[in-house]
């Protein structure tokens, strides 16, 4: 059994027992606090600085040429723990020259922000670097339907991000130059 050691406490002095000097000290502390700088932000006007790698609302981004990057591989839909993502895959119609090799693109892409838990798995899993959790964090609506971000909304939120690969451009380049037959 654990042994309990009773520690001898220093007896309180008379002034301590009246409690009044302690109250005075407390009053001094609170009073000095009144003149310190305020720590709160005036939210809608002042917004906090969003740190890099912040996980805000998931969005779809376009490449610098304005083409949609998502190829509806549905990996994000698969990995999404709360099943917030719903994709209807579709194909890119033949004859679109700037997306000739992509073939596949989402017909509809929905993220239910009532389900989303901002885990960022979708961003991590995306092989095309098309989905990003960016710095937008405020999402509101009057109905459940409004809280489902559709493809249009997702692209509007996402905007354009720099692309390190230009995968499909590379492909097009390869096709144009070609190898010796």
């Amino acid at each position: 059994m654990a042994k309990t050691v009773v520690l001898e406490r220093k007896p309180l002095s008379l002034s301590e027992r009246t409690y009044l000097p302690q109250i005075a000290t407390g009053l001094k502390t609170t009073f000095s606090n009144m003149f310190k700088e305020k720590v709160t932000l005036q939210y809608p006007e002042e917004k906090p600085a969003i740190p890099k790698n912040y996980r805000g609302i998931p969005t779809l981004v376009k490449d610098p040429n304005g083409r949609e990057k998502c190829v509806s591989c549905q990996l994000c839909e698969f990995v999404c723990p709360p099943k917030a993502i719903r994709i209807t895959p579709g194909s890119v119609p033949e004859g679109e020259t700037d997306r000739a090799h992509v073939e596949k693109a989402p017909q509809e892409f929905e993220i239910n922000m009532l389900r989303c838990i901002y885990c960022g798995y979708c961003q991590e899993v995306c092989p095309e670097e098309a989905i990003f959790l960016q710095d937008e964090y405020s999402s509101s609506g009057y109905s459940r339907e409004e809280m489902i971000n559709n493809k249009e909304k997702l692209y509007e939120l996402g905007g354009t991000l720099p692309d390190a690969h230009y995968k499909w451009d590379k492909k097009k380049n390869e096709e144009d130059l070609g190898n010796d037959h």
């Binding site: 009053l27 609170t30 009144m34 003149f35």
Partner: protein, 372 residues
């Protein structure tokens, strides 16, 4: 019977009464704002700073300043209480449930009838106190009426037919009774002191108490222990932290007014702050020299209407500081436990007040004997 002068007198009194109510209610309302602002500042926050009247906000600098100060917040709060749905829960005793807020507010407003807040010099150069009713036993009237306020709380707690309000009501009645004793006992030495033979002053008259401090020591310097006991008891009587047993949000949800909402809750709220305003004024009058300038220093202002206004302002400044002190204490100290409250009241303050009384009885007796 229908003497025009008499009717004019009554009309004037009614007019003054409304003026007074308006002043006290406004002060109560702004005390709420002060509470929110001061607590915010002490906690590194900004406090209410969004409410603004139309157009006022567009005044350059000044409008923004007022808005930032939250000066219109009490207006918004009051309107909110007014326009909220009046809900009467099904399980309450409806008559007493509706009566309780009235019973709580009325004593708070009644006490102010005997509060002097300045002096006026008539054509003969005599000092006439400014008050609604110059009662010669004003302090007794205040003690008697303000203790009625507990009935509002007890009624609210009982008629709500619910656990938390009931506990809140019980606690508050026990607490108020306990501290009233110490409060009354702490004032007795003051009466003795003020009504010393030959001064011609009445110890029970608030005006005379104030006049006794004119050009001499303030009573809290003469009787610091009485002042301390009275102040502590005042905190307890106004249900302010560290003695807010009836409400104690942490253990009783909302205390006696848990079942109240809308305007009825608003009345409780205002009554609480009216109590603070009146309490602060009383403390100022008894211990801080009322409208007089500083201890041992004669009023530097002339004995005419300018002096009257400066005197009133000076009195208000002291009162406002005390209100600030109330708020300051609230955001500094934690709440006592219920048993600690009882312990402090009965085993510490009451004996101390008795000893204090005994000491001053002997002192005053000795002084009287020696001066004869």
């Amino acid at each position: 019977m229908f003497d025009p002068d008499f009717i004019f007198m009554i009309g004037l009194k009614v007019f003054f009464a409304f003026l007074m109510i308006g002043a006290v209610m406004t002060m109560a309302g702004y005390s709420v704002l002060a509470e929110r602002k001061v607590s915010a500042w002490m906690q590194g926050r900004v406090g209410p700073n969004r409410t603004v009247l139309p157009l006022v906000g567009y005044i350059p600098f000044f409008g923004r300043f007022l808005k930032g100060l939250g000066i219109f917040q009490p207006l918004a709060d009051g309107l909110k209480f007014l326009f909220k749905e009046e809900i009467i829960p099904g399980h309450v005793n409806k008559f007493y449930y509706n009566l309780a807020p009235i019973v709580a507010l009325v004593p708070a407003l009644t006490t102010m009838t005997v509060l002097p807040f300045g002096e006026f010099f008539n054509s003969d150069g005599e000092s006439v106190p400014l008050m609604l009713a110059n009662l010669e036993v004003g302090i007794l009237f205040i003690l008697a009426v303000s203790s009625l306020g507990v009935y509002g709380i007890v009624l609210a707690g009982w008629s709500s037919n619910s656990k938390y309000p009931f506990l809140g009501g019980i606690r508050s009645s026990a607490q108020m009774i306990s501290y009233e004793l110490a409060m009354g006992l702490s004032l007795l030495p003051i009466f003795l002191w003020v009504s010393q033979p030959g001064s011609g002053l009445l110890g029970l008259s608030l005006v005379d108490i104030v006049q006794s401090q004119s050009n001499s020591a303030w009573l809290f310097l003469v009787q610091p222990l009485s002042a301390l006991i009275f102040l502590i008891a005042l905190f307890a009587e106004t249900n302010r932290l560290p003695f807010d047993m009836p409400e104690s949000e942490t253990d009783l949800v909302g205390g006696f007014h848990t079942e109240y909402g809308g305007f009825k809750f608003g009345i409780f709220f205002v009554a609480e702050y009216a109590h603070i305003v009146v309490g602060s004024a009383i403390f100022t009058l008894i211990f801080l020299g009322g409208w007089h300038f500083l201890p041992w220093i004669a009023d530097p202002w002339p004995a005419n209407w300018i002096g009257t206004i400066i005197g009133i302002a000076w009195f208000l400044a002291k009162t406002l500081f005390l209100i600030f002190f109330f708020i300051w204490i609230r955001w500094t100290l934690p709440r006592f436990r219920y048993d600690q409250v009882m312990n402090l009241g009965w085993t510490k303050l009451l004996p101390l007040a008795l000893l204090n009384l005994l000491f001053y009885v002997l002192l005053v007796t000795w002084l009287d004997q020696s001066s004869l």
